[in-house]
């Protein structure tokens, strides 16, 4: 970590975060002393442009806070809660003397402890509609049973493993509950480093103060996706980044990729990248090179792991790297603040940092054996739900490239749209669709009328409320399935429906899909005896593409609102088929 706890504490005193629009209320409840954590989180959040309001529950007060529906914690109404427990306080004396009990007693102790936690979760769900992250328990490296611990019948370690397993199961059942693998945090840095007996005895501190910044960094893995400050694309250099040496000088056979120790490091790094691509992270190339030399390696080198189809955009030329990067962002249609930039050359990195500070430029050493580990240490690619659309993303970009080529081959836009065979399937929200609907409201910036951000819990509430309609649209065409790419939320009043949210993913912009979806909403309203539809356009820095949508469609401005009278004829776009599921 770059900063010590003391530096964080002094920085936190001078944070100027009132200017930030993004706000996040974080509650921290714990069974041991975690002073300093909220200061670090505030600094980390401010670096992401988020104003963080922390709430620290009193020392070991978590039970009361959860069980009392009038508690200060519930009144604080956090967006996210971290419940941070430790095995010593959780087991009490049984931590040291678990073998004074019989196997059966140990088993029933675990059952009892888990049902306590389940009860806490029930109370949480009853009182709050937000996310709860619970830490699991460290399995200590020590057992009084020594080497035969692993032979013990439901022994000390197995008890804790059982607790962890039960927690894992709880998080699978409860949508808003996540388990942070604290045991893995301990194995990452080592129990002997994290647990300092002196700090423990002086003040029940169970994460040594010099590791508190590391622990806060782990918690940021949740805060980033909740606030939409996670990243979705890695832009890569080629020479000395994806392979060793310079292909233009060393030649196809001269670069290091595979056999040598250095070569193995590059292969390993590519495997790490591919594993992220498989989970939906977009990859792109930004390299100063002769196009043909570099493409030959990408296409033909036997030890290349990443191939052309893994890259959503490829810029290999002698242009300015910053310009290339901007073009990549435009090609893929993502913001620069979604991009992580990997380049071995310090000068290139400085160029990007200066031109685009919103891009995350990674400092990498000359030693390629460190690349994989640096990539693994980033917590910026986390999501709290992986949707089908995420996993298919790589494939979708290939289809997108094919679509663009097709568009170039056809002279008029109308003919292009006509020949795309677009199908729009309108679906009502359900449990399976909620994560994706929430994700789109959190991420969509361009074609978004109101840019209201909704967590899964919010979407679930709207979906269960008969005053609201939550719908989404799947868009297909001759090149493939774009997945769920449109969302609308309607607030139903007696005589009037108002559009709370209407958005379209950038994947399907410019194809008239929005008209198809809106027409369907209007028809639905008319069938329900509604006389008019009301909508709003809330301008942001990014939603210009949606600016004229309402007026082009035929809405009329009345005061602050846009109104559509349903006695007007509702026109359906001719080039697409709209179906209702």
């Amino acid at each position: 970590m770059e900063k010590t706890l003391s530096e964080y504490i002094s920085l936190s005193k001078n944070i100027d975060d009132l200017k930030f629009d993004k706000k996040l209320k974080i509650a921290i409840l714990s069974s041991f002393t975690l002073n300093g954590l909220s200061e670090i989180l505030r600094v980390n959040c401010s670096e992401l442009g988020i104003r963080c309001q922390p709430y620290m529950a009193g020392y070991n007060q978590y039970n009361q806070e959860f069980l009392d529906s009038q508690s200060e914690y519930y009144r604080f109404s956090p967006d996210v809660t971290f419940l941070i427990l430790d095995i010593r306080n959780f087991l009490g004396d049984n931590f040291h003397f678990s073998y004074n009990m019989s196997d059966d007693e140990r088993k029933s102790l675990v059952t009892e402890k888990i049902s306590n936690l389940e009860n806490i979760i029930k109370c949480f769900e009853k009182n709050l509609n937000s996310k709860l992250i619970i830490t699991n328990f460290n399995i200590p490296f020590y057992s009084p049973n020594g080497v035969i611990e692993t032979k013990s019948n439901f022994g000390f370690h197995e008890m804790i493993e059982e607790l962890n397993k039960s927690l894992r199961n709880i998080s699978k059942i409860h949508n808003s509950v996540y388990v942070y693998d604290f045991n893995q945090f301990i194995s990452k840095y080592g129990e002997k480093n994290i647990f300092d007996y002196r700090q423990f005895h002086v003040g029940d501190i169970q994460i040594a103060l010099n590791f508190m910044p590391h622990f806060a960094y782990e918690l940021m893995s949740y805060i980033k996706p909740i606030t939409g400050t996670n990243r979705k694309c890695i832009v890569l250099d080629l020479d000395n980044t994806l392979w060793g040496g310079i292909v233009g000088e060393d030649g196809f056979d001269g670069i290091e990729l595979g056999h040598s120790s250095n070569g193995k490091a590059f292969v390993d790094f590519q495997k790490e990248l591919l594993s992220l691509w498989n989970q939906g992270i977009i990859l792109a190339v930004n390299s100063k090179n002769n196009f043909d030399d570099a493409m030959k390696v990408i296409k033909e080198h036997p030890n290349m792991i990443l191939r052309e189809k893994n890259f959503a955009s490829i810029k290999i030329n002698w242009n300015d790297k910053a310009q290339n990067l901007k073009q990549i962002a435009d090609d893929i249609n993502i913001g620069l603040n979604s991009i992580v930039f990997f380049d071995d050359d310090k000068i290139n990195r400085e160029r990007i940092k200066q031109e685009f500070p919103e891009v995350m430029t990674i400092e990498i050493p000359d030693d390629p054996s460190q690349f994989s580990s640096i990539l693994r240490d980033l917590n910026d690619f986390n999501v709290l739900q992986r949707t089908e659309e995420d996993i298919k993303r790589g494939q979708m970009y290939v289809q997108q490239r094919e679509r663009k080529e097709f568009e170039k081959s056809i002279s008029s836009l109308d003919d292009f749209l006509e020949q795309l065979d677009i199908q729009v399937k309108i679906k009502k929200s359900n449990e399976f669709l909620i994560p994706r609907i929430s994700q789109l409201t959190l991420k969509t910036n361009q074609f978004n009328l109101t840019t209201k951000r909704y967590q899964e819990e919010d979407i679930r509430n709207f979906s269960n409320d008969n005053k609201f309609i939550v719908g989404c649209a799947q868009v297909l065409d001759k090149f493939g399935d774009n997945g769920i790419t449109g969302v609308y939320i309607i607030n139903k009043q007696d005589k009037l429906w108002s559009i709370d949210t209407f958005l379209l993913s950038c994947r399907v912009m410019g194809r008239g899909v929005e008209n198809g979806i809106l027409s369907q909403i209007l028809i639905d309203a008319k069938n329900n005896g509604i006389k008019e539809i009301q909508a709003n356009f809330i301008p942001t820095q990014k939603n210009k593409p949606a600016e004229n949508f309402l007026s082009d469609f035929g809405f009329k401005k009345e005061g602050n609102n846009w109104i559509y009278k349903l006695n007007n004829e509702i026109k359906l776009p001719k080039h697409l088929k709209v179906e209702i599921d």
Binding site: T4, S6, E7, T33, R198, H201, V202, L209, N210
Partner: protein, 76 residues
């Protein structure tokens, strides 16, 4: 260098170095509570690459005490 101590104390308690003397203590420095005292220990340990014993930690009454204990760890 043991002369670094005042600077570290100043940094931890958000003071200027001139405000710190050997007599500075939890009584004279408002932000010097038990937790910040531990933060100070953490900073001193990583700066001087030493580990205090628990009695040294709990025994500190002022900056002079810190310097005395540091000398036991061969910091001069």
């Amino acid at each position: 260098m043991i002369d670094d101590v005042n600077g570290i104390v100043a940094k931890v308690f958000s003071l200027t170095e001139s405000e710190v003397s050997d007599q500075s203590s939890p009584e004279t420095i408002e932000t010097w509570d038990s937790f910040n005292g531990l933060v100070l220990v953490d900073e001193l340990e990583s700066h001087f690459k030493i580990k205090f014993t628990i009695s040294e930690i709990t025994d500190v009454k002022n900056v002079a005490d810190i310097k005395r204990h540091l000398k036991n760890h061969n910091v001069s």
